[in-house]
């Protein structure tokens, strides 16, 4: 076979003076970069390196260094190195280039153009350490008005409210299926969700039986492939989420490569082991908005109206009108997954060239629903590339009730963003089913890291709110007046519904 023409993307340097020849790197690398050359030392195959930094972090004497290869060819501003590589790879393999995680291109990041407010004089800031600060939120449908029975002074609720789910922090773990990530990682997310009083999402791969103790904190997903969807699964979830699309790959189906479909995953999904798990691009029982309504009510009927139904879409150009249709079709929660949303596997160009930033999507959907007078009936969840509590709060000001975290949660578990999730070789033991790798994430250790991260975020949220003199999250939702923009043209300000920094209240 002729040699590949592609230069290595990363350079791996070993300080032979420090190296103990302990072979930790050989064992740690999921991609086979380091090999024990039987007495002749440890050899390095740089072409296999994805720069996940596992060997660097795990080397007991710090003998390894991985850096980007500076000399790829004569790349330039118009022909970046990444594009050159992709063309060479396609010329060699004839396949559409796959990738993992979210869009990494240099599009404008609206988060980074938005600034939050604080109180000075006319309104006191509040000290979150010593005064009550409420960040609890609820997801689900709200009736248009409360129905009250009983005489004045002894009023009581006449009709029970539709089912809702309570979140102690306005954050949930986004759908990541057992299959795309390991069982240990799913367990870490589930345990953390339980400890934090929030929700995790099974993704579309069905439910592993080990999740039974966490069902009070579980969202079950129904995607076009309907993997693992049966009565027990629907019953187990607190929320049922219909996945129409995903920010990383709007409009195309899911594809779990056969490499990751082991016996247990095959059993959970009801497909042959080693087969690609294919989710069709559309739900074939949804070719129109009234069909979505039909699936929503099928799920409500099947669970006797005891569970909120969420509908998750990728943010696309017409997102506001689509979201309005989803609300009118009977969904209780609308999930918008933006351009930066992650994935276990997506064609790279689809990931990088389709969609809408979640900041814009949230703003225009919230506005459209308000214009139609239906915003108050439903919950809005924003998703896709939320990096911090500041991003989260900005989305809540733009109209979200809560957010989903995917990438940030995996980072907390050790992910170094190498974007090779689709290979199933994840050295950090996250996006893999190889038992020698998956054991690197102990569920309890992982859960603690997630709890730590979100405890910190929760405190930051309270500090932000206290600074603004607001002590309940309800008073934050859609509160665009707490935001100002820097460096955006007027039409972008209009879409976001945010004023230019410097403009007064």
């Amino acid at each position: 076979m002729p040699r590949s023409l592609i230069p290595p993307e990363f350079l791996v340097a070993r300080d032979e003076g420090r190296c103990l020849k302990c072979k930790a790197c050989v064992r740690q690398c999921g991609f086979g970069v380091h090999t024990d050359d039987q007495g002749r030392g440890i050899s390095i195959d740089e072409r296999r390196c994805v720069n996940c930094q596992r060997c660097v972090v795990m080397c007991p004497v710090g003998a390894l260094k991985v850096t980007a290869n500076p000399s790829v060819g004569r790349e330039n501003a118009y022909w970046p190195a990444s594009r050159l590589r992709e063309i060479w790879r396609q010329a060699e393999n004839g396949g559409s280039i796959l990738t993992g995680m979210g869009c990494d291109r240099n599009y404008p990041v609206y988060f980074d153009h938005l600034l939050l407010n604080a109180s000075q004089v006319t309104n006191p800031s509040i000290d979150p350490l010593r005064e009550p600060m409420e960040i609890r939120t609820f997801l689900g449908r709200k009736p248009e008005k409360v129905s009250i029975a009983g005489p004045p002074g002894a009023e009581r609720l006449a009709d029970p409210l539709p089912p809702v789910v309570q979140l102690e922090i306005p954050v949930m773990f986004a759908a990541m299926s057992f299959g795309s990530i390991s069982k240990n990682v799913v367990l870490a997310l589930a345990q953390a969700a339980k400890r934090l009083g929030i929700m995790f999402n099974t993704g579309e791969g069905g439910m592993s039986s080990v999740l039974a103790p966490y069902r009070e904190h579980m969202i079950v997903q129904v995607a076009s492939g309907r993997f693992g969807v049966d009565n027990a699964y629907l019953e187990a979830g607190r929320i049922i989420e219909i996945k129409i699309g995903q920010g990383a790959k709007p409009g195309i189906g899911g594809h779990l490569p056969g490499e990751k479909v082991n016996e247990e995953i095959a059993r959970t999904r009801g497909i042959p082991a080693g087969a690609d798990a294919i989710s069709p691009a559309p739900h074939h029982d949804i070719y129109s908005i009234e069909d979505l309504s039909q699936l929503i009510y099928t799920l409500k009927e099947a669970t006797d109206y005891r569970k909120p139904i969420a509908v998750k879409i990728a943010a696309v150009h017409n997102v506001a009108a689509i979201a309005s249709g989803i609300v009118r079709a009977g969904a209780d929660i609308v999930v918008l997954d933006g351009l930066r949303g992650g994935t276990g596997a997506a064609p790279k160009l689809i990931r990088d060239h389709i969609g809408l930033p979640v900041e814009l999507a949230t703003a225009v959907v919230d506005r459209r629903l308000r214009e139609e007078g239906i915003r108050e009936q439903v919950s809005l969840v924003a998703s896709g590339g939320i990096r911090s509590s500041a991003d989260l709060l900005k989305l809540i000001c733009l109209g979200a009730d809560a957010v989903y975290l995917g990438t940030a949660a995996l980072l907390a578990l050790g992910c170094h963003l190498c974007q090779k999730c689709y290979t199933g070789k994840c050295s950090w033991g996250i996006a893999t089913q190889d038992p020698s790798l998956t054991r690197r994430v102990d569920p309890q250790w992982g859960a603690t890291r997630l709890v730590n991260m979100l405890t910190a975020w929760g405190h930051e949220i309270k500090e932000f709110m206290g600074a603004m003199g607001i002590n309940a999250l309800e008073s934050f939702r859609g509160n665009r007046l707490q935001l100002r923009a820097v460096g955006l043209p007027q039409n972008e300000l209009d879409q976001l519904g945010v004023k230019q920094a410097g403009e007064a209240m």
């Binding site: 609820f138 709200k142 004045p152 409210l161 007078g373 915003r375 309800e474 509160n479 209240m505």
Partner: protein, 372 residues
């Protein structure tokens, strides 16, 4: 007229929402006895230091018994031409039975005051009484869309709001509030920050049967606004208190009793809620879930007037002062105790309102106050 218009635009200073400090006062006679406006004026005058001369106003209930069921639209207008436009909006749904300029003393700085006009109207279709609140809402929104050229001060039965730019004493004098008798009154003196106030931005804010005066700033304004926009409310007066008036109007249209309205505006903390007994907890939790976006966040003390009663409420952290005083059939409310002692030296009981707990006072002979 053109001179007045120019002045008007200057004072409006663009489209700016103005945070404000303030003084509030209210009084009601529980027996429905009507009191002269001079009393509320005196209460406000004592609290002069809390205002800065950029806005003051009064609401009076029970002042127009001779007009029976007619709705009294009090308007702030730039000129007669604008009045014509407003009138065309009114006659779409109302029959005007009487109209006149509100009697004022145009002296000193008020020589250039805007045109202040009142219409007494009856709905064209009185059979649709249930829809009257919607009608008042849409008509007010239509007129306020013309702001700053035109805005509605009040539009309820047997009540009126008198407000403008100035100190409370000046506005009382200008509108000659000593010429009116009402069984309940609200007063307000404003301390808008940074920029001059404008006539339509003074308190009280009123829609339908309710009027509200407010001390504080609503950090939740943006959220409250975005919620109310779902239901046909347009925020065009650029003062946070406008949102309070509309929130109350909306919640009353949802048939919530006054104690429950208060539970929405200043809900118990979740931790408190968990300590409540079953049915109450269920109801209050439901209110917070459904109407959470109408919670008022930030420091506030408010006095709300409605037919036959007053409600006073502090924010749930008690960040503003609000004092009540009772003497016989009279109940007084004010930002400062001194305001009460000024008009009722022998007040029997004075107390400070706790955080988030509404004081609701109803006239015993409500029928006497109410336009039946």
């Amino acid at each position: 007229m053109s001179e007045r218009k120019e002045d008007y635009h200057q004072s409006y200073e663009g489209k700016i929402r103005i945070p404000s400090g303030c003084a509030v006062a209210g009084l009601i006679n529980k027996a429905g006895k009507r009191v002269n406006g001079r009393t509320i004026g005196e209460m406000m005058a004592v609290m002069h230091e809390r205002s800065n001369g950029l806005g003051a106003g009064y609401a009076a209930y029970g002042i127009y018994p001779e007009y029976g069921k007619a709705y009294a639209f009090h308007l702030i207008l730039t000129d007669d031409q604008t009045r014509g436009e407003v009138e065309r909006i009114l006659v779409r749904n109302f029959k005007i039975i009487e109209q006149q300029e509100i009697p004022v003393r145009r002296t000193g700085r008020y020589k250039k005051a805007p045109l202040l006009w009142r219409y007494f109207c009856e709905p064209l279709r009185p059979d649709r009484e249930s829809a009257i609140e919607d009608l008042l809402l849409t008509t007010t929104m239509r007129i306020n869309r013309m702001a700053p050229r035109a805005s509605v001060m009040s539009c309820g039965q047997n009540l009126g709001v008198f407000k403008g730019v100035g100190y409370p004493e000046e506005i009382a004098e200008f509108y000659r509030i000593d010429q009116y008798l009402g069984y309940s009154w609200l007063g307000h003196g404003r301390f808008p920050t940074n920029t001059p106030g404008w006539w339509g931005g003074a308190h009280p804010f009123s829609l339908g049967e309710t009027a509200v005066v407010h001390n504080g700033e609503l950090s939740s304004y943006g959220t409250n606004k975005s919620v109310l926009e779902n239901f046909g409310y347009e925020l065009s007066l650029r003062t946070d208190t406008e949102v309070m008036a509309y929130a109350i109007h909306y919640l009353r249209r949802q048939n919530l009793s006054w104690p429950l309205v208060a539970k929405v505006l200043a809900p118990p903390h979740w931790a408190e809620l968990e300590r409540m007994a079953g049915p109450e907890r269920e109801l209050v939790a439901a209110l917070r879930r459904i109407y959470g976006g109408l919670m008022m966040n930030g420091p506030f003390s408010i006095i709300v007037a409605f037919h036959g009663g007053l409600m006073a409420l502090n924010d749930r952290l008690k960040l503003r002062s609000l004092v009540a005083g009772a003497s016989g059939a009279d109940l007084y409310l004010a930002s400062e105790e001194a305001a009460i002692r000024q008009v009722c030296p022998r007040v029997e009981e004075v107390w400070s309102l706790p955080a988030g707990e509404a004081l609701i006072c109803r006239a015993e002979e409500e029928s006497a106050c109410h336009v039946a």
